[in-house]
Symmetry: C2
Subunit: 157 residues, 2 copies
């Protein structure tokens, strides 16, 4: 069972793919899709659509786990993140993935048992669960892996 986690964003969108094997979680792949700030939203969203569709086609996940929008103070940023999130959900649906959405609170609780865990604690848990030597970089990739791990930890399969 393979899961792709996504941390949605327009400037930088994190993704992380994990495999569940005999109740152990393993890192398959992870990274970010970056789009230039100066480009129009429509072009940036198209880049995200094309790259994410490619990543899914190459890594064959069966499920997608997406962080639900944390409502930021900056409304404009929240709106552009939501636009990217719409494209992410479209990619997942078109690829036939089972899609689950989790709030930041749910992700923190699944990984640390504590809804107000610090970012650093979360990243350390991602590293430990996947038995990595170092914390995955950048943060967006670690956040995406946290979403994928949440799916693995909260779903029976």
């Amino acid at each position: 069972m393979r899961i792709i986690g996504i941390d949605p964003g327009t400037g930088i969108l994190g993704f992380g793919i994990i495999e569940i094997h005999h109740r152990q979680l393993q890192l398959v792949d992870g990274g970010v899709i970056r789009t230039p700030v100066k480009q129009d939203d429509a072009i940036r969203l198209t880049t995200i659509y094309e790259e994410l569709t490619d990543i899914i086609a190459q890594t064959h996940p069966l499920a997608m786990s997406v962080e639900k929008l944390f409502f930021a103070q900056n409304v404009t940023t929240a709106m552009t993140v939501a636009q990217a999130r719409g494209v992410v959900l479209l990619c997942g649906q078109q690829a036939g993935l089972t899609i689950h959405e989790y709030t930041p609170l749910q992700i923190k609780q699944a990984l640390t048992g504590y809804g107000r865990a610090e970012k650093k604690q979360m990243q350390e848990m991602v590293r430990a669960v996947l038995k990595l030597k170092t914390i995955p970089k950048p943060d967006d990739c670690a956040d995406a892996l946290a979403a994928a791990i949440t799916y693995a930890m909260t779903t029976s399969y």
Copy 2:
């Protein structure tokens, strides 16, 4: 020169296509894409993507005019509208359209010369400009046509 206007939304997305011919604006087509409230966002966004892609392919607009998000009091609604908007921009970009975005204020000013025009006044202007006998229904379709007319009135071509 043909323009498609869009009033983004998940439950109901309005579209309206107009043709500019010898400085006159004519209605080509208009309507709405509806998706069931009970469906998951990912399925609803996929329906919007597929139907809007079909509409563009059948009506051949060269430009797309999309209403910029009016920030609603209901944050959850605003977020789902933004997700649909991301899919709309993707459709326009993939079809190679020139995309313009206008705030509700800009649309009101273009149609009535007054940024605080009432909804009814706006709809009456859409009817008059397109020389229709009655106001296009539902409201989402009239709003989409208003966006398309704004593009026609504010762009030199």
